[in-house]
C-alpha cells in the first residue's frame, strides 16, 4: 500500500463533473419528477460548486438561484454570490431574511441568552461560539468569544442552557432559508439542492430541517478539497474559489474548523479519507506531521461526531414500519 499523502484526494474532475451532471439530470427527472433545481448560494465554495453543477446538468434556464442574507452575513458573501450567478447566467433572487428572523424572535432570543452569559453585551458587539475539549479527549465545552464596540475581546464560559438557546435561535437562519427555498421550489415545480460537502455530511455539520433538508445533495460525496478542485475545474470566478470557509452565522467571523472540526479542512479531509480507508493512525500522524496520540484523538473525534449527530440524519422514527410506503418511495 502506498504512503498516505494528499494525492489520495486527487480525482478526475472532468469525468466527475460529467458523472454528477448526468446523475443530477436522472435524479431530477426520474426520482424527483421535477422540472429544475433551486439552489441557495452563500458565496461559499460548496453552494457555488453545487450551483455550477446544477447548471451543467440542466442549463441555466432550469436553475433558480437564491441569495438569502441576514444581519450577520458578511457583505462579501452576497457580492461573491452575485458574481457567481452572473458568471453562470442563472436567474437570481435576493431576499433579505433579517425582517422575518426579527419577527420570529431569532435575534432577541439569541441576544437574551448571550446577555445571560455576558451581561454587558449589546448594540455594536459581535460574538461567536467556540467549542473545545473534544479533541483533547475531554467532554466538549462551549465558550462565548465577543468583541465589544471598542475592540476588546471577552471570552466567557457558556452554560448549557445559554448555549442551547443561542444555537436554537441561530438555527432559525438555516430553517427560514430552507422555507424560502421550498417556496420557490413549490412555485416552480423544482427540487431543492442541498450543498454539504462530504466532511459536513459525514460529521453532521448542518441544521436538521435547515440546511440539512434537501431533495438532492450533489457534492455530499466530495471531500472539501475536492470541492475546491471541482470549482477550479469548472472555471468559477477567482473570488469564489479563494473564499475562506466560515459559518457565516455569527456576527464575529468564525472559521468552520475552530467551531466544529479538529483540524483545518485539508487535514480533516485526509484524516476522514484515511479513516474511511482503514489506514492506521500512525500513517495519518506521519502524513500530517502530528504525533500518533493526536492522530488517534482525531479519529476518535470523527467517530464521536458520527455517533452524536446520527439524530440529525435520522428521519422521523415510526413505532411500526410502513413497508408498503417504503416500497413506493
Amino acid at each position: 500500500m502506498s504512503a498516505l499523502t494528499y494525492d489520495v484526494l486527487d480525482i478526475d474532475y472532468a469525468g466527475e463533473a460529467d458523472r454528477i451532471a448526468e446523475r443530477l439530470r436522472e435524479i431530477t427527472a426520474r426520482t424527483l419528477h421535477r422540472r429544475g433545481l433551486v439552489v441557495a448560494i452563500s458565496g461559499g465554495i460548496d453552494s457555488s460548486c453545487s450551483l455550477a453543477l446544477a447548471v451543467r446538468a440542466l442549463g441555466p434556464q432550469r436553475v433558480h438561484a437564491l441569495i438569502l442574507p441576514e444581519r450577520d452575513s458578511s457583505d462579501d458573501s452576497a457580492v461573491r454570490a452575485g458574481i457567481l450567478a452572473d458568471h453562470l447566467g442563472v436567474r437570481t433572487e435576493t431576499v433579505d431574511i433579517a425582517p422575518a428572523l426579527a419577527a420570529i424572535g431569532c435575534y432577541s432570543a439569541r441576544d437574551d441568552a448571550v446577555r445571560r452569559a455576558l451581561p454587558d453585551y449589546g448594540e455594536g458587539w459581535r460574538f461567536k461560539i467556540v467549542i473545545d475539549g473534544g479533541i483533547e479527549g475531554r467532554i466538549n465545552q462551549f465558550r462565548l468569544v465577543a468583541e465589544d464596540p471598542a475592540g476588546a475581546t471577552h471570552d466567557v464560559a457558556l452554560g448549557l442552557s445559554e448555549y442551547l438557546q443561542i444555537v436554537a435561535a441561530t438555527n432559525f437562519k438555516q430553517r427560514i432559508r430552507k422555507t424560502l427555498e421550498y417556496y420557490h421550489a413549490d412555485r416552480l415545480n423544482y427540487g431543492v439542492v442541498g450543498t454539504p460537502n462530504r466532511l459536513e455530511y459525514d460529521q453532521g455539520f448542518f441544521v436538521k430541517n435547515g440546511d440539512g433538508a434537501a431533495d438532492v445533495k450533489p457534492i455530499a460525496h466530495l471531500y472539501k478539497s475536492q470541492v475546491y478542485g471541482m470549482a477550479r475545474f469548472l472555471g468559477l470566478p477567482e473570488r469564489v474559489c479563494a473564499a475562506i470557509p466560515t459559518t457565516d452565522t455569527y456576527s464575529l467571523a468564525q472559521g468552520q474548523d475552530e467551531f466544529y472540526f479538529a483540524l483545518p479542512y485539508r487535514a480533516m479531509d485526509l484524516a476522514l479519507w484515511a479513516l474511511n480507508h482503514g489506514r492506521p493512525a500512525s500513517e495519518l500522524a506521519t502524513a500530517l506531521d502530528i504525533d500518533v496520540t493526536r492522530a488517534e484523538a482525531v479519529y476518535e473525534d470523527i467517530r464521536n461526531k458520527r455517533r452524536t449527530t446520527a439524530y440529525l440524519h435520522r428521519s422521523a422514527v415510526l413505532v411500526d414500519p410502513a413497508p408498503e410506503r417504503e416500497r413506493s418511495a
Binding site: G133, G134, I139
Partner: protein
C-alpha cells in the same frame, strides 16, 4: 438518599424517563453505551455542581469520570473531600 442513589435517580429520571432502578446497573457504561451523549454529560455536570456545591474544572471533564454511576459517585466523593 446517599449520593449513589441520588445520582442513579437523576440519571434514571432524566435520561431514561423511569424510576425503575433495575433499568441501569451501577457499572453500566453511560457514554460508551449511548445512554448519555456529550450534551447529557454537561447536564449531569450541572446537576452535580448544584447538588453537591462542587466545581468541575475543564481538565476534569473527561469521559472516564462520568461513564458509569460508580465512576460518577467516586468522582463526586473525591471532589467533596478536596
Amino acid at each position: 438518599m446517599d449520593s449513589r442513589q441520588t445520582i442513579r435517580s437523576f440519571i434514571l429520571k432524566n435520561f431514561l424517563f423511569t424510576d425503575d432502578a433495575s433499568a441501569l446497573a451501577d457499572d453500566a457504561a453511560l457514554i460508551r453505551g449511548g445512554i448519555v451523549d456529550s450534551t447529557g454529560v454537561l447536564e449531569l455536570i450541572e446537576f452535580l455542581e448544584e447538588r453537591y456545591a462542587i466545581r468541575v474544572a475543564p481538565e476534569e471533564m473527561i469521559p472516564a469520570h462520568f461513564d458509569s454511576i460508580d465512576a460518577i459517585d467516586a468522582f463526586v466523593a473525591r471532589k467533596r473531600q478536596a
